[in-house]
């Protein structure tokens, strides 16, 4: 008998295909796990709709469920339930340690250009906030590029969405 806790633990071992330091569970994209007999339903939400890793993540989750002896039913839910505020505290720390500045809290309001251009984002290498926006867009849709004037290091900033 597969338990929901065992499925959550197994899913927590799947790294994000593009930022492998963080797991899908840390990222907060696994929305729900429900076990009915042998059938295991996993609901997940992509971070960005154009994420090219969507199929890879779906297959990896199905494979983990099969390893536990369950029949996977992985559903992709495209609704408004995910924001970067759902990345766990541990996930944020893992991002920072790897040189990706974790997303600023979204709170109630949308991010703005003025905010992005202000020096409130912290460099993941030296901790300085003397950083500037280089490009709103980066190597994947979820990241921006910034430059730290203090340690002269460019770095990737996870976008707040």
């Amino acid at each position: 008998m597969v338990t929901e806790a065992a499925v959550w633990d197994a899913l927590a071992e799947i790294p994000d295909p593009e930022i492998p330091v963080i797991s899908l569970v840390d990222l907060g994209v696994v929305r729900d796990v429900a076990v009915e007999g042998a059938r295991v339903r996993v609901e997940f939400t992509p971070t960005f709709l154009g994420c090219p890793a969507l199929e890879v993540m779906r297959d990896a989750m199905a494979e983990k469920v099969r390893e536990l002896g369950g029949e996977p039913d992985v559903q992709v839910i495209n609704d408004d339930s995910w924001s970067t505020d759902r990345i766990s505290a541990e996930g944020r720390e893992k991002l920072r340690e790897s040189g990706f500045a974790p997303p600023a809290p979204r709170g109630e309001s949308k991010p703005t250009l003025v905010q992005l251009q202000s020096a409130v984002f912290r460099c993941p290498y030296c901790g300085s906030t003397d950083t500037r926006l280089e490009n709103i867009f980066g190597p994947t849709p979820c990241r921006s590029l910034r430059y730290c004037a203090s340690c002269r290091q460019p770095f990737e900033q996870f976008k707040t969405i």
């Binding site: 495209n78 609704d79 995910w82 250009l113 992005l116 849709p141 969405i161």
Partner: protein
């Protein structure tokens, strides 16, 4: 076709075709930053198209790929604004700004829809579109008042109005700061769309029914 499926297809076709046009800057944009920006924006728009086609495909009992690639160009519901090809940078930024502003009005209305699936997807799209709007705003801040840019906005203005239904055009006119004029409406297509379609569907048509 239901009203819902028709509206979903209009939006999906706009995002797919514009995504394709944006991707034409990959490798040849005026700077590396813009190469990355337009490629990333293209990826987002095509991702939105996929999610919208999937929703429409369920209603129409088909698949997202068939909707995206197997219709004749004359059946696409895209606005002529997104079909225009290989414009100079002034026109590219003008279209980007005009489209994103129109799209924001459209998404605001869809987010308030009673259809929970459509409202949910629109809200998710809007989180990403916020960054497209910031990018457009940054460029408009640089180019506003420049003669080439203002001429480009004038050229494209009737096309921009055609992105939205009539009742939303007044709002667009207010946000852009130009009067409502006769729009270039959906339904008619240029030869440019057929050229794009031939390139976009070439691989799929080469082996019909193949699983990739």
């Amino acid at each position: 076709m239901s009203e819902r499926a028709q509206r979903l297809l209009e939006l999906a076709d706009d995002e797919l075709i514009l995504g394709w046009r944006d991707s034409e800057w990959t490798g040849v944009a005026p700077s590396l930053e813009e190469d990355v920006a337009f490629s990333s924006i293209a990826q987002n728009e095509i991702g939105h198209a996929r999610a919208l086609y999937e929703l429409a495909a369920r209603d129409l009992e088909t698949t997202a790929d068939e909707l995206a690639f197997d219709r004749d160009p004359s059946e696409y519901r895209s606005a002529p604004l997104v079909e225009l090809r290989r414009m100079d940078w002034a026109h590219t930024i003008a279209r980007h700004w005009l489209y994103e502003t129109a799209d924001e009005i459209r998404l605001e209305s869809l987010k308030a829809s009673e259809d929970a699936e459509v409202a949910g997807l629109a809200a998710k799209m809007d989180r990403e579109e916020a960054y497209h709007r910031m990018h457009a705003a940054m460029w408009v801040g640089r180019l506003r008042g420049d003669e080439r840019f203002e001429t480009a906005v004038d050229d494209l203005w009737p096309y921009a109005l055609g992105v939205l239904p009539e009742e939303q055009r007044g709002e667009l006119a207010e946000r852009i700061g130009r009067p409502v004029v006769d729009a270039v409406e959906r339904g008619g297509h240029s030869d440019e769309l057929r050229e794009l379609w031939e390139e976009m569907t070439m691989v799929r048509r080469s082996v019909p029914g193949a699983t990739w």
